[in-house]
Point group: C2
Chain length 223, copies 2
């Protein structure tokens, strides 16, 4: 029944959206949902949803649809929610602090263990209960505590070096919030980047296109 012959990145990127939408439905008390209803609510076709889920096995019941609770649970399982992953934050500046204080790491399957910084002012303190250690002690900490992912919110200039230190110490995932590309050729590590800049530029393109369309319409109106 299970397929799983190399799941495409397009599918992987949709899994978290399914998970989010199913959580929302669960919250609303919805018990079952069909692929067509789920598709409509997410702007996807029923076919695509069934095809996506087909990558991992049969989660539904013919003639009935999908049970919201169990589908959510199973997608969570696929995503790795219950694997006991751990994470540390590198760079407790503005953004690092904001993420530590507001982002629900545990909702996404991660236990936040610690933060690291070089500022004398912040080292030794706690942010929302999370201890901030000096970056010099990173390797020491990683030796004692198995860490799955390092979250990079350090300055651009320190990103690559800090990443290399993490990878050298056995971290296999990097969540990169610095506005630069980092790479570790030959290393067995997954890099996932959040590029604010790319996102805003894409938005800039889209609203600019919209404006141009507007102009054309204006032109049409005048003739």
């Amino acid at each position: 029944m299970k397929r799983n012959t190399r799941v495409s990145t397009a599918v992987i990127r949709r899994l978290p959206r399914y998970y989010r939408q199913l959580s929302e439905l669960q919250r609303k008390g919805v018990i079952r949902i069909s692929s067509s209803a789920l598709g409509k609510s997410m702007g996807l076709t029923a076919s695509q949803i069934r095809q996506d889920l087909f990558c991992f096995g049969g989660f539904g019941q013919q003639g009935y649809g999908y049970k919201v609770d169990s589908l959510k649970e199973q997608i969570g399982e696929i995503l790795g929610i219950n694997r006991g992953h751990t994470i540390v934050v590198l760079g407790a500046g503005n953004l690092g602090r904001a993420l530590i204080e507001n982002f629900k790491f545990s909702n996404n399957g991660f236990q936040l263990l610690a933060a690291f910084d070089v500022q004398e002012r912040t080292v030794g303190t706690q942010i929302a209960g999370v201890p901030v250690y000096h970056a010099d002690t990173l390797e020491e900490f990683l030796k004692e505590n198995p860490v799955s992912v390092g979250l990079l919110t350090v300055p651009k200039s320190a990103a690559q070096t800090m990443g290399e230190r993490l990878v050298a110490a056995g971290v296999h995932g990097i969540w990169n919030f610095t506005n630069c590309e980092i790479a570790f050729p030959g290393e067995d590590v997954v890099v996932e980047s959040v590029h604010f800049s790319d996102s805003l530029l894409a938005l800039n393109y889209m609203i600019s296109q919209r404006e141009d369309g507007q102009e054309q319409e204006d032109g049409k109106d005048k003739t």
Copy 2:
């Protein structure tokens, strides 16, 4: 020469990456680059780069390649860097504050005009030179100042309503940092979302896959 017959989102998402890479090359003093060299540095094929640029016109010289400066400039133009767009921040909490203080809006073609919040403590203050007004005065402000994009860092519960107020007041772009889907059916507005959670879940999936592969290899070794 110019094509531009509906540029696919795949291309649109690559444009900011080109722009970023070209800026980096410019910084390093590189004058010219071929599609194959640019491709290699970004993990794309030369074909893809030429095909992408072909959507917008001929920016290169045969037998020579592309001039870094002018290609960067032209991609910037396509993205809308020089259109005098403006932006306001809704929600001056931790994340909003971090973005106001650290994110270079002007590098992406936006002038940051103001922030809005409801906290008595922050209303009336400035963050990195940006005034914080009370959210009640949003409509008043938008009447006086043309705003292209509203950046949403409000709590999840306020996201949709705040978005609707922006759209009603004539804002055509929403940069959504809340962890929920917002939609404005029938409205002429572009929504670009940054979902931290989706990103971390995708990373979770990828490192979990890696671990499973590891296990299999371990198994193989033992037999």
